[in-house]
């Protein structure tokens, strides 16, 4: 075994080969001179031979041979640009797509945040059998900070919108614990004032140098600006806020996001173990804040993925992230593209191998062993792969930059490839070299190998892979079309949402109730407002509470819980086929799906509800897609809101006249209630369009992949058919001369491909059916086995591939028989 140091010294020796050999010559000359001078026998060794033996003794010969092969490979590629350029481009496309996908994954899940010691950061969340939350009450944060021995450096953060000067948009602010900047390694001293973000500094103050010390109006008070955060400093949120403010001891039940650090010899698991006990103790001390059977989860907190979770919360166990399924799907599709590119290249190389047969035979006859020839051919594939990986890295970077712009990701996420991405590109290159390079290497070395068979396998694989890509993009396109075409079950056109964010502002329930009553009054007084209602779930909003109801049989029923008050059904424009909406405490309405699953054919009106505890059903509403546009399997329950729910509520407004005239009247109405509260006012239509954006982008991205695969596959098929036809030119010529009908000859030539194509189609459909299961939740209104999508995809593929195959075949038929016979 060679040690790494030895290999390093061997490589160094090779790199300095010329200098080393000159050195040796000098040494030998000196040796002879000394021998002569001292009257010893003058050595008669052959200097050239000594030099050879010295080089061999270094043990670096295999490397040297490899370098030789590589030089030769690049020379061969340079000599044949007609082959090399398309080959490298094809590989670059295949590798580039995967580099982009992996780059995105790495950016979110692997790359450490640009803060101090990101590896030891953990994010704390609460869990219990009933629910989970990524925020903790401030009192619990303080309790854990005081008592934990396995974790230290606790950081708390609370995001709020705060009013600033009149006429300017509200501030996105974060209250942060005093150690925030120090813990995250931002060179900002602890301060009493406001720290503004780089982008806010640019936006509001045009990057003015003397901004420190200037006052900023925050909720009616003037706060001095003490510092500007560095450009790339994200803090602990995906989108940095406008301003960070010191968190002076907030209410005990104020919900804060919490990060901490594990001790150097500790682990998140140890922290979780300790905090099991701490959570129990906390519940003993503060029974109103702690949860029953609560435990604290400590997840790695040092990358963007932990920021994305924000203030997520819900009932039941935390369900797996839907984006994981999508990422897995996109990764599989990327892999398929690379597979298609590789099979294409394999085909090209096979064809080239045939035309190089003569060269290879000559080289074999002058003494090249078959292993040496295979090594040489494989080295050529490696050279090709290296070029492809390099170009793919560039292409992937370009795609990533475009994607970042398109998906509106924050600027501090830097898409430039890091060592992980470079390593991935190298790996992808090596894997593809193995894929496409093995066949020609075996062929070249005259190992037992059946070129015809290989060609068939290549075609089958290509057809299968392209089929999968087309089917999946067809499914997504159909689903997005359905989601857009089928109305969401409520009338979003003439609606607006006014979210005051009372809980984040520290309003308690009674103060919030009072505020909302006055806000509703003012809003109703605005000309053109038809009706208003209160809800805790913003339609098409970011957060929602979903409850899983286990029905004993079948899939558990998932129910979206809304707490509502006022003319909810009318304001939302919901259908109400039976009964009436909830009007007093402990009344509830449920959607049709919930009614069917919970009560079967029976009439639910007047019956007790199995959700929430102690509710009676007063009505059944039509199904609506309130939060997830693409999710048709989510039932709804509308529970009459208690006074205790008031701090979480927001106002929804329906306009009878044009919404455009009502919208601008709403903020002043809110300010008249309480000047310090600046609510977010949004037209429902905008929120709805925004929600559709995600699936739409997904469909566009996958369609682009599908198109790329189709183009690649067609290119490959043209090449393979042309090659097959070219080998049979003479036979075709003879047949034509003997009077065969062109159609028959054509059928004979193409018939060779019928079986692999059919097999590829079957394999492709099977693979697509399996893979698309991942998509089920993302598909609205169609099954993942949707016939239209499958049929359409196969139709498109067969049509394009057929045309692609006919072109070279037809050309062969028009060859002059006499010329074909003369041949060669």
């Amino acid at each position: 075994m060679k040690s790494p140091m030895q290999v390093f010294r061997q490589l160094r020796y090779l790199l300095r080969l010329r200098r080393n050999e000159e050195g040796l010559a000098e040494e030998l000359a000196f040796h002879r001179e000394m021998a002569e001078r001292e009257g010893n026998a003058i050595p008669l060794g052959n200097e050239l031979r000594i030099r050879e033996e010295t080089r061999d003794a270094s043990g670096a010969a295999p490397f040297e041979r490899m370098a030789q092969d590589l030089r030769f490979a690049f020379r061969m590629l340079a000599k044949d640009p007609g082959f090399a350029v398309p080959a490298v481009l094809m590989l670059a496309l295949g590798i580039g797509v995967n580099v982009a996908v992996f780059g995105f994954f790495s950016l979110v899940y692997l790359r450490p945040l640009p803060v101090r010691e990101p590896d030891s950061l953990i994010r704390l969340s609460r869990q219990s059998p009933e629910r989970y939350a990524y925020t903790l009450p401030y009192a619990e944060f303080a309790f854990l900070r005081e008592h934990s021995r396995t974790a230290h450096g606790f950081v708390a953060m609370r995001q709020v919108r705060l009013a600033t000067d009149d006429g300017l948009p509200a501030l996105q602010a974060q209250y942060v614990s005093e150690n925030f900047f120090e813990e995250l390694g931002a060179p900002i001293a602890r301060s009493e004032g406001a720290v503004i973000s780089y982008s806010f500094w640019q936006r509001r103050f045009d990057g003015e140098a003397g901004v420190a010390g200037k006052p900023l109006r925050v909720n009616g008070k003037l706060v001095p600006i003490t510092a500007v955060a560095a450009k790339g400093f994200p803090g602990l949120s995906m989108e940095p806020p406008d301003v960070w403010l010191p968190m002076d001891k907030p209410a005990d039940d104020a919900e804060v996001q919490v990060w901490a650090r594990v001790a150097q010899d500790g682990s998140p698991a140890a922290v979780e173990a300790e905090m099991r006990g701490l959570a129990l103790n906390f519940r003993r001390v503060r029974p109103e804040l702690g949860w029953e059977q609560e435990w604290i989860r400590a997840q790695a907190g040092g990358h963007a993925a932990s920021l994305v979770r924000g203030t997520r919360s819900g009932t039941g166990p935390e369900t797996a992230d839907g984006s994981n399924a999508v990422l897995l799907l996109v990764a599989s599709l990327g892999g398929l593209i690379l597979l298609v590119a590789c099979t294409n290249l394999g085909g090209l190389l096979l064809a080239r191998g045939v035309s190089r047969e003569r060269e290879l035979r000559i080289r074999a006859s002058v003494g090249a062993g078959s292993g040496r020839l295979a090594a040489q051919l494989f080295t050529e594939s490696l050279a090709l792969a290296a070029l492809g990986a390099l170009a793919g890295l560039g292409l992937g970077y370009g795609v990533s930059v475009g994607l970042m712009r398109y998906a509106d990701l924050p600027a501090w996420l830097d898409p430039a490839p890091d060592w992980r991405v470079v390593l991935f590109a190298c790996g992808a290159g090596l894997a593809s070299a193995l894929l496409f390079g093995l066949a020609p290497a075996m062929q070249g070395s005259k190992m037992k190998f059946h070129a015809g068979m290989a060609r068939k396998v290549l075609i089958g694989a290509q057809v299968a892979a392209s089929c999968v890509l087309l089917i999946v993009s067809g499914l997504l396109a159909r689903s997005i079309q359905q989601a857009t075409d089928v109305p969401p079950g409520f009338d979003y056109e003439q609606m607006a949402v006014v979210s005051p964010g009372l809980a984040e502002r520290g309003f308690d329930a009674s103060r919030a109730g009072e505020y909302l009553r006055r806000l509703e009054e003012r809003a109703r007084a605005v000309a053109g407002v038809e009706s208003t209602a209160l809800t805790d779930t913003s339609p098409m909003g970011r957060s929602s509470t979903v409850m899983q109801v286990d029905l004993g049989s079948g899939k558990p029923l998932e129910v979206l819980l809304n707490h509502v008050r006022g003319d909810y059904v009318k304001t939302m424009g919901l259908r109400m086929p039976r009964g009436r909406e909830p009007r007093r405490a402990r009344e509830a309405a449920i959607s049709e799906l919930a009614a069917r699953r919970l009560y079967g054919d029976g009439d639910p009106i007047g019956k007790p509800l199995a959700i929430g505890g102690g509710y009676t059903v007063t009505g059944v509403t039509g199904q609506a897609r309130l939060v997830r546009v693409e999710d048709g399997e989510l039932a709804q329950a509308y529970l009459f809101a208690e006074e205790a729910d008031m701090a979480k509520m927001m106002l929804i407004v329906r306009a009878s006249t044009a919404l455009e005239t009502v919208l601008p009247e709403l903020p002043p109405a809110a300010r008249a209630v309480e000047g310090s509260v600046i609510p977010e006012v949004q037209a429902m239509r905008t929120a709805y369009e925004k929600k559709l954006e995600g699936p739409r982008r997904g469909a566009v991205a996958v369609s682009a992949l599908g198109l790329a695969a189709l183009v690649l596959a067609c290119g490959g098929i043209v090449g393979l058919v042309a090659f097959a036809v070219a080998r049979r030119t003479r036979e075709i010529g003879v047949r034509m001369a003997l009077g065969a009908r062109p159609v028959h000859v054509l059928g004979n030539v193409l018939g060779e491909f019928a079986r692999p194509v059919l097999a590829g189609l079957v394999a492709g459909v099977a693979a697509a059916a399996t893979l698309s299961q991942l998509l089920q939740r993302q598909l609205y209104g169609i099954s993942h086995l949707d016939g239209m999508a499958y049929g359409g995809a196969i139709g498109v593929f067969v049509a394009t591939a057929g045309i692609a195959a006919l072109v070279p075949a037809w050309r062969a038929l028009r060859v002059d028989p006499a010329q074909a016979l003369r041949g060669d």
């Binding site: 030895q6 020796y13 000098e26 040796h31 000394m34 050595p43 052959n46 061999d56 043990g59």
Partner: protein, 110 residues
């Protein structure tokens, strides 16, 4: 022309042994082996320099360019710590083999 009459690996051992006394250039190494062996062993340059190369790749010696006693530029070889360790291990093994062989030879002659 035989390269040398030494068993495989023995030359490396001799080189390392003479380098233990301080760094030397190639010619001096050959001379020293020659002298120390009471002029029995003659190290040909055709064997010496490949062996030096191999030893250097293995990390047992390092070389630096210096000036010889005659004022010429020449490479000086210096034993490394790894080289000393290797030498000690090899010498111990050699001793053991040597004693074993001696024991057998004595046993047969009695």
């Amino acid at each position: 022309m035989p390269k040398n009459d030494m068993p495989h690996g023995a030359l490396a051992l001799l080189i390392l042994r003479v380098l233990q006394g301080g760094s030397l250039h190639g010619y001096a190494i050959a001379q020293k082996i020659h002298l120390l062996s009471s002029e029995v062993l003659r190290v040909e340059e055709g064997a010496l320099y490949p062996a030096l190369q191999k030893i250097e790749i293995n990390g047992w010696v390092t070389s630096t360019w210096g000036v010889s006693e005659t004022g010429r530029r020449v490479r000086f070889y210096k034993i490394t710590r790894a080289g000393v360790k290797h030498l000690e291990a090899e010498l111990a093994a050699y001793e053991r083999t040597h004693e074993a062989i001696q024991a057998v030879l004595r046993g047969v002659s009695e």
